[in-house]
């Protein structure tokens, strides 16, 4: 059981280090996804939202980590 818990913790650790960064990324994907469903004629706008959102989230997260 302990081995399974350790293995799953390691697996999650591959993708999540800073929880707030992971949540922010998932929110950006969610918002872009909802936009692409509501506005199927403007897929590039959804792509731009995704790209700019991820860049902004990364920048903001690094700045916050450096400040802390």
């Amino acid at each position: 059981m302990n081995v399974l818990v350790a293995a799953s913790q390691t697996l999650v650790g591959l993708f999540v280090d800073d929880g707030s960064l992971a949540i922010a990324i998932l929110m950006i994907v969610l918002v872009s996804g909802i936009f692409s469903i509501l506005m199927p004629d403007m897929p590039l706008v959804a792509g731009a939202m995704l790209l700019i959102g991820c860049l902004a989230v990364l920048f903001a997260n690094v700045m916050k980590a450096a400040q802390d």
Partner: protein
């Protein structure tokens, strides 16, 4: 095979495997220095066999997932994985967190194994082999994920695997020629580059999964990577300047 599509995938697989290979080799060397090559080699071989089994099991499963769903799932995982790498590489480059040091990693692992030797002499070969096995599996899992993630969306898993394999051969050749951990590899620069590429692949595949038709098709990956690089370098410069202003 179209090289415009394949080159970023193969390069990313090669560079990331170089980083992970160096880290795994450090632990294997530590095991070998404390307990000899037999447990180190056995642990390594067992780890490689498990990784091979994972790849062989996963590959046919991937073919059953619809392409858009596969792109979306892999894209999101790549975003989480790649941006985590890139964040850490930025913070290391800016001096906010310490650089990863293979010399320290080797010394720490060696000391831990010697400690275990004092406590469990009878089981030491087993523990040493396990340490080697764990290092190969943990670092190798990241390589397996990257190879599948950058290759699956365009049927490039084979090409990306060759890139990863080439990197492992390079690391093993240099490691065994020098007989010590590879401390001079610019690990954070490699992690920075890989983080940029993985994040770019993540945005690209997630977008494709959401139905985005990127201008320039696969070439968009390079443009997205350039934007990530720009933002990452700006974050490093700004963080360093702030640290200089408020030491």
């Amino acid at each position: 095979m179209n090289w415009t599509t394949a080159a970023p995938a193969v390069t990313t697989a090669f560079l990331s495997s170089l980083v992970e290979g160096v880290e795994a080799l450090t632990i294997v060397f530590a095991v070998a220095s404390v307990r000899g090559w037999r447990p180190a080699a056995l642990g390594t071989l067992a780890g490689l066999a498990l990784l091979l089994l994972i790849v062989v099991t996963l590959r046919p499963l991937l073919n059953r997932v619809p392409l858009h769903a596969l792109q979306l799932i892999i894209g999101v995982l790549l975003l989480l994985f790649g941006m985590r790498w890139l964040r850490k590489a930025i913070l290391r480059a800016a001096g906010v967190i310490a650089l990863h040091d293979e010399g320290i990693a080797f010394a720490t692992e060696t000391e831990e194994l010697r400690d275990q030797a004092r406590q469990h002499e009878a089981q030491l070969n087993w523990l040493a082999g396990l340490a080697s096995f764990k290092a190969v599996v943990l670092e190798g899992l990241e390589v397996v994920f990257i190879v599948i993630a950058v290759g699956a969306g365009r049927g490039l898993v084979g090409a990306a695997s060759l890139g990863a394999l080439a990197a492992c051969l390079v690391v093993a050749t240099f490691g065994f020629a020098l007989h010590r951990p590879l401390e001079r590899v610019p690990e954070n620069t490699l992690k920075f580059a890989v983080g940029v590429m993985l994040s770019a692949f993540g945005v690209f595949w997630t977008g494709e999964g959401l139905g985005v038709l990127w201008p320039g098709e696969d070439l968009a990956i390079v443009a997205i990577a350039a934007l990530f690089l720009l933002v990452a370098l700006a974050a490093v410069a700004l963080t360093r300047r702030r640290a200089g202003a408020f030491p």
